[in-house]
Amino acid sequence: MNLLLVIIIGLLYTAGLYMMMRRSFVKVIIGLILLSHAANMLIFTVGRITKGNPAFLNKDGAIFEPFSDPLPQALILTAIVIGFGVQAFAIVLFKRAYQTAGTDDLDEMKKTDED
């Protein structure tokens, strides 16, 4: 699976970066989402995936081997939620910009900036 994940990471990064270079603001936001997915998958993969038990202790406080590493998970969990916050902010920003500039095109928006 590692190899597949590595390919997926590469693809997600490619797609995310490509979308972020578009002129349309919506595409930029989608690019942002793809990038945060890519980053999460990267952390998850390089933190070693373990096909096995989640990181929970049983009633006696012991753990079932093999278990997945909890630390990257904790990192990703906060990253997911933060990513959501950023997305939401970007969406609201986009909406405001669209209302003000009347366009979805970043180059057009830049012109209104200069006026």
Binding site: L17, H37, L71, I80
Partner: protein, 767 residues
Amino acid sequence: MLFAALSGFIFVLLIPIINKYAKNSVGWIASIFPLALTVYFISFYTNVIDKGNSILESTSWVPSLGINLSFYLDGLSLTFSLIITVVGFVVFLYAGSYMKNYDSLGKFYIYIILFMSSMIGLVLSDNIITMFVFWELTSITSYLLIGFNHEKETARNSALQALLITGGGGLALLAGLIILSGISGSMSISSLASMNDILTEHRLYAPAALLILIGAFTKSAQFPFHFWLPNAMEAPTPVSAYLHSATMVKAGIYLIARMNPSLGGTELWNYTIMFVGAVTMLFTAVLSFKQTDLKKLLAYSTLSVLGTLTMLIGIGSDLAIKAFMIYLIAHALYKATLFLTAGMIDHSTGTRNIEELQGLRKVMPITAAIAILASLSKMGIIPLIGFVGKETVYAATIEYTNFGFLFITLAIAANIFVVYITMTVGFKPFFGKFRKTPKTPHELPFRMWFGPMLLAFGGLTLGIFSSFIIGKLINNTELGIITAKLNIPVKLWHGFTLELMLSFITVLLGILLFWKRNQLLKYVDNISFIDEITPSYHYQKLFNGTLKLAKLQSRILQNGFLRYYIMVIIISTIILGGTTLFSLGEMDYTGIIEMPGFEEIIIAIVMMTATYMTVRAKTRLAAIVAVGVIGYSIALIYIMYGAPDLAMTQFAIETLTVILFVLVIYRLPGYLPFSSTARRIRDFIIAGAGGLLMSLISIIILSNPLSSELKNYFAKNSYAIAKGKNIVNVILVDFRALDTMGEITVLAVAAIGVFALLKLRKGADEK
């Protein structure tokens, strides 16, 4: 001592309250603080001065870095502390009356109390890092105080100039101090004193010493950094009296004196200090000649005195150190007084221009008396402390064998100008026939003249009883400037000596210069080269050049197109990261290449297709659906690899994201293709290279072993220490709770951002 050094930072919190409920008496109340500190420091008098002990107290602050709040009280720091608190008391009292028409008087007291505390902290600190922190605090508070009349552009510029110069010097100082602690392995200033041999013989001695000296020279406005001080006269007069004559500008000199036992004794150190001091002393004195502003005149004479003090440390003989101490005290007393009386004249008449001021002695008799008393001290007339000071300076200079003749000539020349300045500032406004001024002059209230009078009489008392008070300070105390105690009597009257004669000549020539001023000015007026050799000219050029460069580089780098930013980021990452990757050796890839399971292949195919769909989608809706598919697939991967918490969070977020997009997008116009095909291909190549790099990075990480130390630590301690069985959650709310704290704060900031954007919208609608 910890409390004395830090109490100001607490006391300052009361000022807004006092200012609210007792606006008119905030000056009275605030001046209690320096008075209390004065009493506190005097209580050390017996121990430090009479018995000659020194006190070291230490409280740990950042023990892992060796940074402690340690404070050291000896003769030198006690003298400085007393100057700071006594002049502070006078200035605080004075400002309450002088600035009573300012709306922001409360703010003024906040700044100046913060300044005073930083200054006390600076002179008491024994730890070099602590001292540096206080040093920078004085720069910052000084910036706020110089720019106090921030509606005036000149005030803002002067404040910035002072900050840039002293701040830049501060950086040099920090570098020097770090080198110093690297050489010595110690951060305690008092312990450095005994390491003179080790320090001066080290190969990094020269850079360390010079960097520290640059810091000191900028702070004490030594040539070629002197020009910020006259410009700083934009500050309200109490600030000039306090910061720019009595205290802050002496911080650099204090530092040189304090470092003298540890770094001194070499030719590099002594000659640098000596010559910089001597040049400052004469050059700035000459510059004063054309000035007509009371405060600027005083500023130039301060510069000259600062130069003299620096030179004396450079000479470094016992007599020179004695002269240094006496002159330091004398100057603090008379210069602060003269600044304050200049402020009184300004306040009363509405002008500081020396041409317009004369004959005020009848309307302002008290001010006149105080100013004249201080002037006499400044000119070095017996029996004031200034006389003792100047005598000793001359004596120390004559005695110096290497360059004695050169320096005594320079000193006399500079002092002639000082006498000239004193005549102009201290006598001219009061004598002669009265001339009309912008405001009708009147005598000022008690609060304003009481403090200056105290200082002026201080100068008289110390002069008459000099052997009694200053003599004790100099002879009994561990001065900290030189390692041994001095043993030289201080006397008012030495008999008819060479110094006395030189003193007499100086005063006479000074008066002559003053008398012939107008004739001489005609000759000087045509000389303009002095403006070009002054460093302020180059400072301005450098300043403007930096601004231009900044504008140019932001025009190129910050062009406003998001995609170019991203391109620059990707390409530079590829170049930097790529070169590192290729320089790595052989790697073991066996862990990565293994046969994936059937369900894994399915998920991978789904994700790849969805990614392709997202990019190629013709409508927004299709793109959003495709992104959603990617998100849910990722959630599935989390489930497969033992991360149920992540999967749940991912599901919830995906749902919310879809709701968000639906709320926004379905009202917007269609998905327009903006870019040409050629552009898309270019972008795809760049993005593809970025993606490839990330893949390679993950392969490299995967082929290196991962330490399982943390994993096992959390597994072992999750229940034992943190009483939780869901290790991920335990990490979030316990082991790494501070990170989570930061994270929810970021979320809150995002929410405030959303809120603000929408408020903005409402504001725009109302227009």
